[in-house]
Symmetry: C2
Subunit: 343 residues, 2 copies
């Protein structure tokens, strides 16, 4: 299993990618990593950071790419102009069969645009999207779409549901993932026009649809897959990050006001760091691009080596389980019910 890794994608430079590649080959069976980026630089960093570990070095290679797409680039323009960008070259490796999957911690819009340009969409899929795992009180929940499609129709949300459930079945080994539709009340008929149109499509499908779910249900872990349009999904994601940060800042402010609390904090530190680890996106292995004709994962820009290692593991798993074949099969199996409902 060969996974291409965008070596210039993250906010913190190529060392993180090199560390992620080394961690992946050292801890995962049957994995090779292809670092995509400036060849000389990457070979030098690889040599230094591996400390001559020849077993690891034998499973990490470098594929040259001279350009980088930044967070400030406009995705579609950048893909067109920078033909030798790491993310474009990486998906070309997948297209030509030289890699099984691609992982990038770069501009997520550009990663999606490069994936669609190089690999195309799966048959029957109108809009590929990005799924992401959110931590909950119980097991993680998968949310789709988290930002690729800001204005959606019911048919798009229906397809997100099929894709995310197919992915959750195989990745989480859950034969009947509970599917929820993000809305503002659990009762049928609550929600905006898009939710009201999507509800009957999901209800008529063979998916394990449990109905509308609210923002507060997401974190209780009583649902496995939640669908929403990419505008709301992205706001949900960033609000959650923002609230977690703000809460920790406020608690820290309170702790600094008292010696008692400072000592308490020292004693509780282990528990708090376990909590932080549980909610850290780095543990969840990035966000799969679903609906493209190949395997791609986009990671948080501030991913560390461990986060990239986990994303490489998920990418390899997705490719091994042939999630795309499952998506196409489910989509065509469900088409009858779907057409019956729409007509």
């Amino acid at each position: 299993m060969k996974v291409a890794l965008d070596a210039m994608g993250g906010d913190t430079g190529p060392d993180v990618a090199v560390q992620g590649a080394l961690a992946a080959v050292r801890t995962l069976d049957d994995i090779e990593v292809i670092l995509v980026g400036p060849e000389e630089l990457l070979q030098a960093r690889l040599k230094e950071l591996s400390r001559g570990d020849s077993l690891a070095l034998a499973r990490v290679s470098v594929h040259p790419a001279s350009e980088v797409i930044t967070m400030h680039d406009v995705p579609v323009d950048a893909i067109r102009k920078k033909k030798d960008a790491t993310v474009v070259v990486g998906f070309d490796l997948v297209k030509t069969g030289r890699a099984d999957a691609m992982v990038s911690a770069g501009n997520s819009g550009a990663t999606m645009a490069a994936a669609v340009k190089k690999l195309g969409r799966l048959p029957g899929i109108s809009r590929p999207g990005i799924a992401s795992f959110f931590p909950t009180v119980k097991q993680p929940v998968m949310i789709m779409d988290i930002g690729a499609n800001v204005d959606c129709r019911a048919q798009h949300l229906y397809q997100f549901a099929v894709m995310a459930c197919s992915c959750a079945r195989l990745l989480q080994q859950n034969p009947q993932p509970r599917l929820g539709l993000l809305s503002i009340g659990a009762e049928t008929g609550k929600g905006n026009a898009l939710v009201k149109e999507t509800y009957p499509l999901l209800q008529a499908s063979p998916l394990n649809f449990i109905g509308n779910v609210e923002g507060r249900d997401v974190y209780q872990g009583d649902v496995d897959v939640v669908v929403c349009d990419g505008f709301i999904g992205n706001i949900l994601l960033k609000t959650s990050e923002g609230l977690a940060d703000a809460a920790l800042q406020m608690i820290r402010g309170e702790i600094l006001q008292s010696w008692r609390a400072k000592i308490g904090y020292l004693l509780m530190r282990g528990a708090l760091s376990n909590f932080k680890k549980k909610v850290d996106y780095a543990e969840y292995g990035g966000a799969p691009l679903l609906g493209i004709n190949g395997t791609g994962i986009v990671c948080h820009g501030s991913s560390n080596g461990n986060a990239l290692r986990n994303a490489i593991a998920v990418a390899a798993n997705m490719s091994r389980h042939n999630i795309n074949a499952a998506i196409v099969r489910h989509l065509s199996e469900y088409r009858v019910e779907q057409e019956n409902t729409v007509s």
Copy 2:
């Protein structure tokens, strides 16, 4: 200043309303409270809970209403059928000048429907909405709409901005509240179709528009007013509540695994409870209904007496400052710019 209080609105029965009324008249100057609900019951509870405090009792009265609208009622139907419901009678007191404002911790849809039915909309306002204060690292931020309007047009968001900024100016004594448009990227041009249409309206207005803000900015306190449609606003509100609860559950779970952490928790308890107080909706005095021709506030169903007391204070303040006159004046002042932009 007379404030009507729905005595049967909250999840926990009339005692909370009686406690809120007593707390209000004891701690706020120039306030009388009219409890709206079953007369005998309320008089009895008032007698007992006031412990014969005749000074307080002189400023709390009861106005009879025999019906109650529950959280399970469909707002518009319930308003039509239950003509003697507490929330309907309460807004009738405002309409007929027997009260200056109305506060309810009941069904927010029914509260808005009763307000619109009894009081009507302010001139020029297409859609009244609900504004709410969210805690941040700095001062609270006002978000509008948090659930009254699930499908909006740009013009509605523009009006939410004018209303919320007028309210923030007077309530927070902030002459130039910083206004943000909730989106998925700070750059102009990022967002869904609604955001892209709303952006130029806000930019052309005399409001202090600082551009798009993301979910994570909301909690940093670098913006005073944030506008969004009611579907997203409600999801933001409930996600925030849900995430805060889930985080505390997860932290508690970690603490219970170690004695060290348990002792640490005991020492930190004061700091954590200060934090909890800071983020507690009860401190923020409920959510103003803006755009109705009168003053109304809706509170969280699980509000305690202190939360209701704070909401009564905000309601009286809104009425005193004549926020509605400011809204109507600003709306007509801005109409020229607005029409120039639309045409």
